[in-house]
């Protein structure tokens, strides 16, 4: 992985999350706090890992970054500019997202990979150019060109998730948000995705935010990270040293696997 962050000052970071709160609207009752005062910064080209037990608010945090939900407090900056100051479509084009469960659209793999470029009228009206673009993205995720014409609903879980990655990459994002992209895959397919991400991180200046509940995976993938429990940042710093001497009791509990599977409200 790339070297440790040389500059984590908020001014020069690609992505800055500042004091973000999120409270889910309560159904008649009081609203329920999901995220409280989450702050971190990711410099360009780095892989930032958000680690936490399930239900700790990791997915919610990612969704506030590309405004699939609106934070109830705090703000997110992309290249120093508050995301609320950017047109939503621009923000989402620049900040790609891969979800835990691959959600492919109906149609072929080509239809999926070309979805983003088609929205913007690129690459022109030429079907050949479109195919070339899609094949190029597929090769980045290790899939052969003949995948273009496969129906999207006939892929294995691992293939589908790789197509989702290619679909996100086709938008030429600057930041890629990955929401437990390997959680629904078997170990072999998961390792394949991990390797792809590591290669992308090494070869491009794409900035990653990688969410996982798996400590070992976090150590393999990230260069910096934080531990999120109950919507709060417990610790953050460079990986893999971050958890070598846990400061907090909660961190110890998490490391011992005692927060792992259970849902934290």
């Amino acid at each position: 992985m790339s070297e440790a962050a040389t500059s984590t000052t908020h001014g020069s970071a690609k992505l800055v999350v500042e004091h973000v709160d999120y409270a889910a609207p309560g159904h008649g009752g009081p609203s329920c706090a999901i995220l409280s005062d989450v702050t971190f910064a990711v410099p360009t080209g780095h892989v930032f890992t958000v680690l936490g037990p399930s239900g700790s608010g990791k997915s919610t945090l990612l969704r506030t970054v590309d405004r699939l939900i609106e934070p109830t407090g705090g703000r997110v900056r992309l290249d120093g500019i508050p995301t609320t100051a950017l047109p939503v479509q621009d923000l989402r084009r620049r900040v790609g997202m891969v979800f835990q469960a691959p959600a492919l659209f109906e149609g072929t793999v080509l239809d999926n990979v070309a979805y983003g470029p088609r929205l913007r009228g690129a690459p022109g009206d030429s079907r050949d150019a479109e195919r070339e673009l899609a094949c190029g993205q597929l090769s980045r995720v290790g899939l052969p060109p003949d995948f273009c014409d496969k129906p999207a609903d006939q892929l294995s879980g691992g293939e589908a998730q790789r197509v989702c990655l290619a679909r996100a990459l086709a938008n030429e994002p600057e930041v890629l948000l990955l929401d437990e992209p390997t959680a629904s895959l078997d170990p072999a397919a998961a390792r394949l995705i991990e390797d792809l991400l590591l290669r992308l991180a090494a070869d491009t200046d794409l900035t990653f935010v990688f969410v996982t509940h798996d400590l070992a995976q976090a150590r393999r993938i990230g260069d910096h990270g934080l531990l999120l429990v109950d919507g709060r940042v417990i610790e953050q710093g460079p990986l893999p040293g971050l958890f070598d001497e846990p400061d907090a009791e909660v961190t110890r509990l998490f490391l011992e696997g005692r927060l792992g599977g259970e849902a934290q409200a």
Partner: protein, 256 residues
Amino acid sequence: MTAAQHFGYVDVAAALALLAIALGLSYRERLGLEKDLLIASLRAFVQLMAIGYVIDLIFGAERFVWVVLMVVAMVVFATATSARRVRTLPGSWWIMAVAIGLATALTLGLMLALGIIDPQARYVIPIAGMVVGNSMTVASVTVLRLLEDARDQRPRIEAALALGATPRQAADNVIRGSVRLAMVPIIDSTKTMGIVFLPGAMTGMILAGADPLEAVKLQVVIMYMLTAATALSATAAALLAPRRLFTPQQQLRRLG
């Protein structure tokens, strides 16, 4: 032309025997529908009697403004019924009012403008009833389906949004699916018309002693009109509702 058979209240009361069959079945099979059936039948009787008197009054008055008011009242009632069905959707009242109102105004207006029907209460009101009723059903089904699909297809819709799609683009599949589904009954009944399905207006005219060929011609006109009205209503509902599925920041709402 043969004279129509005269129906007296005694005949109507005798038809209660049919209701008794339904009640008996419900009781025997412990469906627990007796109360609902009784109330519904009673309501239908009272509502129909009332509307009979109103129509009789309007026929007598021969003022077109009364006809228009009657049609508006139908649209309002249909709107309230449809909007109640999808009350989890913000602004459902306006969506239904526009969908049903637009479908009714355009089709009835065109029929009147082209001189296909005479601007008389005895033609406009029954035909408006069919148009409003069908538009209402179709608008309800469209929006219900849209809400259900938006829930089921949430991951796909959000994946599309995350790629920079507008709400309209992200919901495109869901929109088309809901219109298609809502149009199925009208298309199927149009296809099988005369074979499986002897439509109400034609049946009514024949019962009332009209020439069957006259009845058929009117039915064909009505059929085309209902097809247009339902297509308009479903499309309008499906185009208006998605805005309300999303927040102004283009996020998919969580509805009920």
